[in-house]
């Protein structure tokens, strides 16, 4: 994949760079911002805030609940052994099993969805620079058209940065 990106030493410059790119006509989808921290206060972080993850976790929990109920009911009625004069299918002990499997369902659904949504682990080549973990913020334009590269370089440079790099 091709990309052109600039490394910025503070979030304000990065915000500046994103706005310059927008004014230059680059679509929001092509701009990626990579950082070693979330930087929640800055506007460039506000995309992608909406998420289905809470609903997926609830759905996973509901699935776990039904699995627990099914496991308890099927295994207890399949081989009905009397223990302690208790009924074969009693709600009190089975609620514990159902609760645990509900929570397990929610947890596993969350983690699996997280990995899927964030495309981790990744196979295809992605833009990255090790300077990001030293604190620099990377603002990239992915797959730019050939003719626009010099324009983009100028726009990225204009925000007072250390360097602009290309990935080919």
């Amino acid at each position: 994949m091709k990309a052109i990106y600039g490394l910025y030493s503070d979030p304000d410059s990065a915000q500046h760079a994103v706005e310059s790119l927008r004014r230059a006509g680059v679509a929001d989808d092509s701009i990626s911002v990579l950082a070693s921290q979330p930087y929640e206060e800055y506007e460039f972080s506000h995309r992608y805030k909406q998420t289905w993850l809470f609903w997926i976790a609830a759905g996973g929990g509901a699935l776990g609940l039904w699995l627990g109920l099914g496991l308890a009911y099927l295994t207890e009625t399949r081989w009905p052994l009397v223990t302690g004069g208790m009924p074969i299918f009693a709600w009190w002990p089975n609620i514990i099993i159902m609760f645990e499997l509900t929570m397990l369902g929610a947890i596993i659904a969350t983690v699996v969805s997280l990995l899927v949504m964030t495309e981790l682990p990744t196979i295809r080549c992605k833009v990255y620079d090790p300077e990001v973990s030293q604190g620099k913020i990377l603002v990239a334009v992915e797959n730019p058209a050939d003719g626009e590269i010099s324009t983009l370089e100028r726009t990225l440079k204009g925000s007072g940065i250390t360097e602009v790099r290309r990935v080919t």
Binding site: F54, F99, I107, I108, S113, T118, V132
Partner: protein, 452 residues
């Protein structure tokens, strides 16, 4: 945060991974020997049967179940600090979260070994797993031991994932900073993390969900462990307060273990700039609250028993109060309440040293508490002809000591492989130094005034 501070944090927190002293190897070797001795003892026990242990008729549960409940209790440290403090947005938790989560995961792994160690036929432990077997029979879901299996598996899965999720950005950092074969391993573990805004949002959302989910699981786990006792009619076991009692005791011992771990790490890894006295003070206040809560539950339990005057229960009561188990009982009261109370309540004594002393005593006291719940009741059941005395045997003592060694060993190896303070969470907090204690603020003010 400027780049210089970020680089300094990276350097400081990665130094334990880059530099290894000879003491580390000596520590690992020593602990490794103790752990191997413990494993050897267990093999000896499997070969010769439980006759080599001290358990007998009618005290069929003793050291191993004590250890089981104790370690599961210690595992509540992580849940409290990571999950609960995260949910209430307590920012001072940031340097402490990973220390706590690691305790949880390893304590759970160790605790979960004990149900297998204490079995009469441990090679058949997998019959507790609900799978379609050729015997055409499933586990008895009415048994508290089956509930234990579900609860501990869920909690172990949840805590491990809770530990691993925020590790991903730190693995990415390690991938960038390390060289050689370690770089390759961290690159695999980092799963290709870039740090895009979408990835950060999803990770934070997932952490929030996990924090909300793990708290009820943790409460249910130790409640279910307490149900192992309260579901039987053994005198002084059949108590309705056992659920909350055990959970409170678990959080109590968990915080104590966390304080000990933090104090050791602070000294050994030179983290004085990141783990401040205010952290120990805040945890010390929580520990004080749990000590009071523990004292309250113990008092309520014993008052109810004494007032009720049920003959079977009173036999157990007097055994612990004035009988054969009274030295252990009063030691426990001293260790859990009498000595920690002034150490933690008086601000001048609530220093790092003070909290460490209190925590060490509390860890001992809570182990004794588990022992005193289990053994005196079994030794003094309903029919006096069936009373018996318990003596621990070398096998049990060796395995107990080996689990403590295993905990320290696993922790040391983890701190060598992974930064023990969560680097990105610390940076998000905005500063390397957290809020100052009132004394430190006073000091700063004096220094500022003294300057011309």
């Amino acid at each position: 945060m400027d780049l210089a501070t970020e680089r300094k944090i990276n350097e400081d927190l990665l130094r334990p991974l880059r530099q290894t002293s000879v003491w580390f190897f000596l520590l690992i070797a020593g602990l490794g020997i103790i752990v191997l001795a413990g494993v050897g003892s267990w093999m000896y026990q499997i070969w010769n049967g439980l006759a080599v242990a001290g358990i007998r008729w009618p005290v069929f549960w003793a050291f191993y179940i004590t250890n089981f409940v104790f370690w599961i209790g210690i595992s509540h440290a992580g849940t409290l600090i990571s999950a609960i403090l995260r949910l209430v947005n307590a920012t001072w938790r940031r340097p402490v979260t990973r220390c706590a989560e690691v305790i949880t995961v390893f304590a759970l792994m160790i605790g979960a070994m004990f149900p297998i160690i204490h079995l009469g036929r441990p090679w058949l432990f997998f019959w507790l797993i609900p799978y379609p077997s050729e015997r055409q029979i499933w586990p008895n879901l009415r048994s508290p031991l089956a509930w234990d299996f579900f609860a501990i598996s869920t909690y172990l899965t949840g805590s491990t994932l809770f530990l691993l999720l925020p590790l991903i950005p730190d693995f990415a950092l390690l991938r960038d900073q390390m060289r050689g074969w370690r770089k390759r391993i961290y690159a695999v573990l980092a799963l290709g993390w870039q740090g895009t805004t979408k990835q950060w949002h999803r990770l934070e959302a997932a952490m929030q969900i996990m924090a909300i989910a793990i708290v009820p699981v943790a409460v249910s786990v130790h409640t279910i462990v307490s149900f192992d006792f309260s579901m039987s009619s053994v005198p002084m076991w059949h108590s309705t307060v056992f659920g909350p009692y055990f959970v409170a005791g678990a959080i109590f011992s968990g915080i104590a273990a966390l304080i000990l771990a933090m104090a050791v790490l602070r000294k050994a890894l030179h983290l004085e700039e990141y783990l401040h006295p205010v952290h120990f003070q805040n945890l010390g206040k929580l520990l004080l609250m749990m000590s009071l809560l523990w004292g309250y539950f113990t008092f309520a339990e014993r008052l109810t028993t004494w007032y009720g005057n049920n003959s079977a229960e009173m036999a157990v009561f007097w055994e612990t109060q004035t009988g054969a188990y009274s030295p252990l009982f009063w030691t426990m009261v001293f260790c859990n309440f009498v000595i920690p109370f002034p150490l933690l309540a008086i601000r001048r004594l609530r220093t790092i040293t003070g909290t460490v002393i209190a925590s060490s005593l509390i860890v001992v006291g809570m182990w004794l508490e588990r022992f005193l719940i289990i053994v005196p009741s079994l030794a003094t059941k309903h029919l006096p002809y069936a009373w018996g005395a318990y003596r621990p045997q070398p096998v049990e003592i060796m395995i107990t000591v080996a689990t403590f060694a295993a905990m320290v060993l696993l922790y040391a190896l983890f701190a060598k492989a992974v930064p023990i303070i969560s680097i990105w969470e610390l940076k998000v907090g905005g500063h390397a130094q957290p809020v100052l204690t009132p004394e430190e603020q006073e000091e700063q003010r004096e220094l500022w005034k003294a300057r011309p």
